[in-house]
Symmetry: C2
Subunit: 354 residues, 2 copies
């Protein structure tokens, strides 16, 4: 796996999206979110997904020029329709609408229906944190997990995220799928032809499996059994039922359903820290909390206690300095699109190896 | 274990709290929340806790007459100070303040500092659901879990809850501790002199234990390792750091620290369903979601797929009809308080056995 400069990746993704009809300013937003996942070490949600997004635009399954429509606005709540556009663009625009509302009312909420897989939730949460706000974010996604006791894929891996600004140079970033593992890990294993550990997934008949391909046909297991089921249900109700999007099994699969839109639903709740307490006092409180956690007594063999978000912030610092690792498979996909859309991408512009 | 009528239990709890100086109307709120936990089958958060609440009032560690003070109100955010009063009363009053704000703005948020252990989160969430609203609720609590990689108790079992109204006669109720198991289960095992299963807890030296007493001196393990750690952190930041309450290890222990207040922090975010979509349409969507989950294919040996909240709703129906089970140990504690405070409680008024 080679490293590429962030600027090179953002530039090529922007040009490819624009080449498929996405307005250039929107394409730049899209590229920023996508490449940031790779920068932060979440390559499962980064440019490895570019191929399927472009393919779905090509098949007419995503509207590259979709507007974000306000279906309903009541007080501090926005009900939005993404118009089947790219989720990254629409979710970022939703945040731009929410921010002045949250500054005015202390809290503001949006649902977004008729959207797509929109990458890593933590991008939106971290962006809010960079503005002194806390975003609680959820999304439903294509069916992957069964309810506890079942074996039909009903829920997506329905993640929850929230990031909190700190004075430490990185936000505390909570971002977790309600599955035992994120489905992206199984996709990554399949792409590499590797088996998956036991306990991750059931096959299509409800049997445990370590075969990534079988697992992708079956269901991934919820985190902590019934607790993960309950959280997945909460995410589905906030982001699916409340938003007006498709629910559960009706959410289209990005990879499998190449004949219909996804109709994913997102849920954002944005809090302005300053509505709760003075910002300096807040920073003092969260920084002291981080310090106390990190100086906590360590279990044998543990070198350092990390707070959530610290590891990916360190990865991002390395990747920003040394270049962003992208797999050869993904580079090959990008080259094909570059060739088709006449975009220059010097894939030999390698800046390093991880 | 005998069954008692709900009315008998509410009456005796109200009288005992009033006998300790809680204004009668507040005492009735307190009793309602406490007894409802037993009715719903969550006896770990019900009248089994009455003894310690009364004891703490007696020791001057809880103010029975505390007012709920508004420290700050900005738009749709309330920053509240519980005045070291009983959490059940102050949290219920906070909800009463939030509801008109949520009806007006679609969403309203409160933090509550300087509070106590306030029973089962799901009571507040279910109450909101009964009013056509969705409450997302969190609370920090006395230290019980270490950060991933540590073994000092830092976080409480930091639960998350949300209930959603349905047309099914019960709300979908999500309510989970971010520990592998709720600490109340370990307390219950200790009271019964029973061991706990492996994987629930570490002792004070960081070793795995099945001894409930050792576990109560040590730490309970987070749900799903680092994922539970991340969620516990999120709960601590929303309900502790943002609220101005004590944080992590500074939260007083209800049972162990009989020399200082708890200073627990709660976090409520209340959503008015009607701000998002028409209520009839909402009910149709959630009821269909429930129906589809319940008719999902079942794993071998599974008789029925339940949605979160269904089991406790069934228990509540049984307990309302047949009487509420209360352990002999708890009844003995109640009798002692009745004797001291000259409250009549015919503990032989048994209405049935479970």
């Amino acid at each position: 796996m080679n490293r590429y400069s962030k600027e090179t990746l953002v530039s090529v993704v922007t040009q490819l999206a624009a080449g498929m009809g996405v307005p250039v300013a929107d394409a730049a937003l899209f590229a920023e979110v996508l490449v940031d996942a790779d920068v932060s070490g979440v390559s499962t949600h980064g440019v490895s997904r570019l191929n399927i997004y472009l393919k779905r635009i090509d098949l007419g399954l995503i509207d590259p020029r979709a507007k974000l429509n306000i279906d309903r606005q009541a007080g501090s709540v926005l009900v939005l329709d993404a118009g089947n556009g790219l989720g990254q663009i629409q979710a970022r625009k939703a945040l731009d609408l929410l921010m002045p509302m949250a500054r005015q009312n202390g809290v503001a909420t949006a649902t977004i229906r008729n959207s797509q897989h929109f990458g890593a939730l933590s991008w939106y949460a971290n962006f809010a944190a960079s503005q002194g706000m806390v975003l609680l974010a959820m999304t439903n996604c294509e069916p992957a997990m069964s309810p506890e006791g079942g074996y039909e894929a009903f829920f997506g891996t329905n993640p929850i995220a929230a990031s909190f600004p700190t004075g430490k140079g990185f936000p505390v970033k909570i971002d977790l799928a309600t599955s035992g593992v994120a489905r992206g890990n199984i996709i990554a294993a399949q792409k590499k032809g590797q088996p998956i550990p036991p306990g991750w997934a059931l096959d299509a008949q409800g049997n445990p499996t370590t075969d990534a391909s079988q697992a992708l046909l079956g269901t991934v297991l919820t985190m902590a059994g019934h607790k993960g089921y309950a959280l997945a249900m909460m995410v589905e109700l906030f982001s699916g039922v409340l938003s007006g999007s498709a629910i559960g099994p009706d959410v289209g699969s990005m990879y499998k359903n190449l004949d219909r839109k996804q109709d994913v639903g997102h849920f954002f709740c944005l809090f302005d820290v300053k509505a709760f307490l003075d910002y300096d006092e807040y920073l003092k409180r969260i920084d002291e909390t981080i310090d106390r956690i990190k100086s906590s007594k360590k279990r044998p063999g543990v070198e350092e206690i990390l707070v959530p978000g610290e590891r990916s912030a360190r990865k991002a610092a390395i990747n920003n300095a040394e270049g962003v690792p992208v797999s050869p498979e993904t580079i090959a996909e990008i080259e094909q699109w570059c060739s088709r859309l006449h975009v220059a991408f010097n894939c030999h512009e390698v800046v390093g190896q991880p």
